[in-house]
């Protein structure tokens, strides 16, 4: 029951987190990737390159992802004033509305996973996970909170 045990529980926890995320995404008519994209745009417009870095996606993958979200009217590409090559991806009004509702819903669902825990266990869990995240220069994970100083925002993601 060494590291193997910890690896196994981490993986299985990750699995149910992903399933929850998937389920909530579907209920809002989104794919998980689109939902993640919208959430990352909630605090404000972001450039394609930066988004790709956060999500660990190649730029061509980003183009496709944003294309599809744009086709659904959830985001728009705003030309960057000081660099005519670049563009910023921004939420539309319906996109903002949807993202907000989704964010709220998924936050509840995920927090509910720990409902069976005692309050101080929940607290300790959050702290411990934060230690892990901080130690790995976490690069965003689909919630705008990612841009708050939970982990080192300026640090390189590896």
């Amino acid at each position: 029951m060494r590291g193997e045990q910890l690896a196994a529980v981490l993986l299985r926890l990750s699995f149910i987190v992903q399933q929850s995320y998937l389920e909530v995404s579907r209920e809002h008519g989104l794919t998980p990737q689109q939902a993640q994209l919208l959430c990352m745009l909630l605090p404000g417009p972001v450039g394609m390159a930066e988004l790709g870095g956060w999500l660990h996606l190649e730029k061509s993958s980003m183009s496709g992802l944003v294309d599809r979200a744009q086709r659904r009217g959830l985001v728009t590409r705003v030309p960057d004033a000081r660099d005519r090559r670049a563009c910023q991806v921004a939420l539309t009004a319906p996109g903002t509305e949807l993202a907000t509702r989704f964010y709220d819903h998924v936050s509840r669902s995920l927090a509910a996973l720990a409902d069976g825990l005692r309050a101080d266990d929940r607290r300790r869990l959050a702290l411990t996970i934060n230690h892990i995240l901080a130690a790995h220069g976490v690069p965003v994970a689909g919630l705008p909170v990612a841009r708050l100083p939970v982990a080192d925002e300026t640090a390189e993601a590896r």
Copy 2:
């Protein structure tokens, strides 16, 4: 810093776990889904329906997943002796070898995520996560350990 916080850290932890899994999969020439499939077959052959249940996949999705793994020579479909409709998916020799190496590697990588933690924090983390898993009748997550009594194997996954 209410439940929202916990939701955020859970999600971000899940993100880095998935990234680790993805990275190791790639190093072994596998997609994460194929890697997960192989790992679930390590303890022995399993029927398509059961696999689909564990992975939350429709049967047609299972067909494709197994097809591709079979095309690569990693698994075979063994006709079920007592039900001529059914078949069991089993690892081939190369499949077993690859799955074993992958499992070993990914276990190390995931356990390494918690390297910065103190030993008793790691222990407590594993215990707490186990509580969450047990409370949610976890349905397997890509490691054969899934078939051990960490969570209730017979319980419905919702």
